[in-house]
Point group: C2
Chain length 355, copies 2
């Protein structure tokens, strides 16, 4: 993959200055500024929503986006940054982005599962909000995501949908409250203060001014490539290999261990993309976007499958409900397998186009 992209002898488009610590500092300042802008928007949105106006629903997404980029850059370019400061910041940034992601994840998971239930019933439903925006802490949780016509469903599918709706709406409401509390906490204020400082002053080590960023970016890429190499890509490239459902009825209630390396690659791909942004100043390599989207889908389907399996463990449900949840679980595990197939395809194409 993109080996020559990071070749130090290759001129890097879009950059006039040298690729030293200053480029990293510029990136971090820009992301910190973006974080503060999103935070302001988010707070105004909260007020606006309380006044009945439309909330700026993208603010939470923008907050997460910049928090992830700052955290990722701190990791990849660690040797160039003040070690104490980096070590302190990273868990706090992880906490912020995790906390902000949770409500949206519950909402998206419910939507995914309700859509699947309708697809599996041969019914087509356009959910109330096709792309559910992240609106954490902006206003009270909205009405249920999809308002499906349950008349088309079997009793089992309808009951399974109602059960998932109840459980995931409860989880979402909890995530919403937690986010609201967190955003008002002194812990969050300390993070925001640190990022406000970062927006003007990046704590580089003295040697950073002349250090080359590229070996560090290349190391991030190598970690990604090594992790991809360890994936069962040959199996994934054979359609209908039935791997993803191998533990579909396993007595072990833990998340599928086979998913973990794929989740890991998803994170490493993200770090590689951010390093690429630092070096080249432009957005991610288009060729890798499809691979990243496949891994997002892999994660979403994996978690949706777990939610269906979890719901099936609810005491005293009807057999028809449990049956529908079983079909749904298997369906989402096949989405997992389909996402692996799609990743394998995109990755091969990305490799071919750069070699």
């Amino acid at each position: 993959m993109a080996q020559q992209h990071l070749d130090p002898t290759e001129p890097v488009a879009g950059h006039v200055g040298p690729l030293t610590g200053e480029a990293l500092a510029g990136y971090l300042r820009a992301q910190a500024t973006e974080f503060l802008r999103a935070l302001r928007l988010h707070r105004e949105g909260g007020t606006a929503a309380a006044n009945g106006a439309e909330a700026p629903v993208d603010a939470a997404r923008a907050l997460r986006r910049s928090a992830r980029r700052i955290s990722g850059s701190l990791h990849t370019f660690r040797p160039l940054l003040d070690a104490d400061w980096s070590e302190r910041m990273r868990p706090e940034l992880a906490w912020v982005s995790g906390m902000l992601a949770s409500e949206h994840a519950c909402e998206a998971r419910l939507e995914r599962l309700l859509l699947a239930l309708h697809r599996l019933s041969g019914a087509t439903v356009v959910p109330a909000q096709t792309v559910a925006p992240a609106k954490v802490a902006a206003a009270a949780p909205a009405a249920p995501v999809a308002a499906p016509d349950r008349g088309n469903l079997t009793v089992g599918a309808a009951k399974a949908g109602a059960l998932l709706d109840r459980q995931l709406t409860l989880a979402r409401t909890r995530a919403h409250s937690t986010a609201l509390q967190s955003l008002g906490s002194s812990r969050f204020h300390a993070v925001a203060d640190n990022i406000a400082v970062l927006a003007s002053e990046v704590p580089l080590v003295p040697t950073a001014a002349t250090a080359d960023l590229r070996p560090l970016a290349r190391a991030a890429e190598d970690r990604l490539k090594d992790a991809v190499t360890a994936l069962p890509l040959i199996t994934a490239g054979h359609p209908y290999n039935a791997e993803a459902l191998v533990h579909g009825l396993s007595p072990d209630p833990a998340p599928h261990p086979q998913d973990a390396p794929w989740h890991q690659v998803r994170l490493l791909l993200r770090l590689h993309r951010y390093a690429h942004e630092v070096l080249r100043g432009d957005a991610a390599e288009v060729r890798l976007l499809a691979a990243g989207e496949a891994l997002d889908r892999h994660r979403d389907a994996s978690e949706a499958a777990s939610a269906a399996a979890q719901a099936a463990r609810t005491p005293r449900i009807a057999p028809a409900t449990a049956y529908a949840l079983g079909v749904l679980h298997a369906d989402q595990r096949h989405e997992v397998e389909a996402a692996r197939f799609a990743f394998q395809r995109s990755w091969q194409m990305a490799t071919v186009s750069t070699s």
Copy 2:
């Protein structure tokens, strides 16, 4: 596909004589002889099994095999045969092969479902009889096909397996009794008598001696090609298209209507293969064997999925059992989808290799 194979200008390997009614008569006599041989073996096997010796388990399969070939040839080459006699024979032959297939189908379905339950539980089990032979009416039903170690299964999977075992073993026992009765019935004796006559004397119409078989064989091939053209092959060629499970939770308990055209192609492919045997004297075109196997798998998975859904409707089952049956149903529907993908691939390859 194989258009030029049936081109009348092309010399046909393995045949010295002209391709007239006499070739058909030869084929029918050979199949009738084979039927009688298998019937004798079958009866001897029944006695041998009663004496504790090993039964000739392939006899029932051979009986079905020749009954299907006689019936198929009667259909394809109808204009060359005495119409009254043909019309009388075909439903009787269909009855014989259906009756003989039923016990084996129950047995294979149970084995398929138990293996799937183990696969889905992450357990690997070698069933007691990996290739379950047809032993209809040869002896009393054998012990359960697989003797899985249920210790590896969840309670739900184990209970689902036990339920399927009970239901399909009961169905198999009934099919066994029906077959035993049928083979002793005057209706079956009449069929056997007719086939004994066929072994020496084929009721051709007077014009058959000079009639060309090839236009009739080509018509059978055209019916196959037309039916394949009507299949959703483009969808089937996209892996993970999620079509096969579209009605996985449909309130309609009938078999999936989307499967019917594929089942139809399976029958037409069989007729084409038999016509090919009549004309060329050799076995089926190798290139089409994979396509036929994919359609067999399609049928088997489709019926196994129905059996799982059917079992889930048993009153008073535990939710965990119903959940496992839901996962199993979805798994088999994905096997259906995988079989369509495989058929599409083999069919394209067969087309490319002949054009």
